[in-house]
Subunit: 354 residues, 2 copies
Amino acid sequence: MAGTITIALDAMGGDYGPSVVVPAAALAYKKNPKIHFLFYGDQKQIQHYMDKHPELRVVSDIHHTDKVISNDEKPSVALRSGKGSSMRLAIDAVKSGEAGGVVSAGNTGALMATSKMVLKCLPGIHRPAIASIFPTKRDEIVMLDLGANLTCDAEVLTQFAVLGAVYARAVKGMRTPTVGLLNVGSEDMKGPEGLRLAASILSSVTFPGRYFGFVEGNDITEGGVDVVVTDGFTGNVALKVAEGVGSMSSHFLKEALTSSFLSKIGALLSMKALKRLKSRVDARVYNGGMFLGLNGICVKSHGGMDAFGFSQAILVAANLIENDYNKKVANEIEQVMSQESFITSVSSLSMDGQ
Amino acid sequence: MAGTITIALDAMGGDYGPSVVVPAAALAYKKNPKIHFLFYGDQKQIQHYMDKHPELRVVSDIHHTDKVISNDEKPSVALRSGKGSSMRLAIDAVKSGEAGGVVSAGNTGALMATSKMVLKCLPGIHRPAIASIFPTKRDEIVMLDLGANLTCDAEVLTQFAVLGAVYARAVKGMRTPTVGLLNVGSEDMKGPEGLRLAASILSSVTFPGRYFGFVEGNDITEGGVDVVVTDGFTGNVALKVAEGVGSMSSHFLKEALTSSFLSKIGALLSMKALKRLKSRVDARVYNGGMFLGLNGICVKSHGGMDAFGFSQAILVAANLIENDYNKKVANEIEQVMSQESFITSVSSLSMDGQ
């Protein structure tokens, strides 16, 4: 149907399966009525929850399977024996073109390994990255890689910069997004060699953004750049440290505001403001790890999300599809990699083994 | 004098020089009257601020120098031409035994490079690390390396575990501190090779703590382990991300509580509780990056700290000196490194080049 966005859902993934995935789909559909759904998983369970959402029934197909990839399955095992599982079938639907994208709250390693194998990378892309949106003091930013690749050489980091910049343009509507490389200092000579090489490539090539320079950990939340690029090890630690400090801050705030009668009255009076504060740093709002660089849209929801959180991940996938993200990336990557300055830089470092 | 703790102060380091360093010394002296001070820097300026603290005059010597290492000086230049500077003279005082330790708010790279060159590493220690105390939901923890070494092999990470565990015992009085290695997952097979090797060494050797396993970024603030060990690149990013998220949280909270008349009244009633909250996450309380593993105590204060913040760094140094930290580390390192299981593990990995 013209203008329809079809999303394949791994209904069995995550801690709560269809009890979250189905109402999440209903929520997402309410916000974006162009979305149609392909559910993969236990027909009876899915049907049970869908009975409460008749409006969803009309725009959904249910494909039954008993098979589920568990959360503790090793990615290599999931690859070999995952055929016919709810996750695999949902990814297959993207491969075959039945769906424009897939959303799963299942095993991250299995989802990445399977979608890499089934969907493959976009032409020219060496490795996919996990990207996500973060709140900052100013606007939201996008950061990648959050864990797909433990180490990344300069060429891969450069590609990530393009993946992030195209996202900021295509989905966030920015004209010239600024891109920063995460480092331990902002001076040019700081940091490991691979990072410095990536900086020199990004300074010399034309890409759909502007290279800002190195940024430090505390710059991320200042919102000084629109895209933060890092390797998957550092990005994963940074993401989780941010989650941890956020959680500690609310923990301390709650303790403080319930510590005395007076502070409780004060909190009551500030309730509306505090609720708005909570929504600003609500992890559910920022749910949806985008696997960028694959030949198909794939979004990972946090396993413990509720229906609202999972619905956000669906909307993230819908946004990528609706804005033709992958087509735009493929174009831009080709243009960046065919530039003389890119080819010279990369060939000069190919012997460094970094 | 028996029981005296002598600390050499780089009076010119940091953004504010003697205007902060002198009152900071007065504050620290108030809390720990065993401390005596050797000030290095502009005699006139130091004297000017000391006139307001006659009690300090009695326990202080001022050593004049005009020379200051600037904040943007490259470490290599500071090494070559830093002789006679306030920072260098303060470090020299530790080397000569006149002082038990040095505190500086100056250029971090220059301080690390100079103290490494002048003081050298403790016997058996390959590389010094920067360590700091962090607040968590439970008790405070110590984390290292925060930026001295961009990459660290398994042997160095193992030594850092010992440096951290001895700190937790000697200064924090813990009997068997738990040590975690920062990684992107808690499963044994996760992460880069060097980390997995460090995990296997720490699992097999006897050291002054208990190896807990891998911890993730969000585990740090949960306080599940007493010591978190990581390489200097990751540690530096983690530290700064934590600072950034903390700053964003207070920024959002302030915005929320001043957003309406009602919320302002609420904040007023909760004032006492909010002040206590602020003190719990006050960066000044946790000021003092310890350069562990050197043959002398060296503590780095944040350059922008006020007198209270700098005084905390002085107290950190005093604690290390008073508790004989370096002597204890030297003993423990020797014991760990002479163990059969340590020698076997390290020699088996020496060919991996990791």
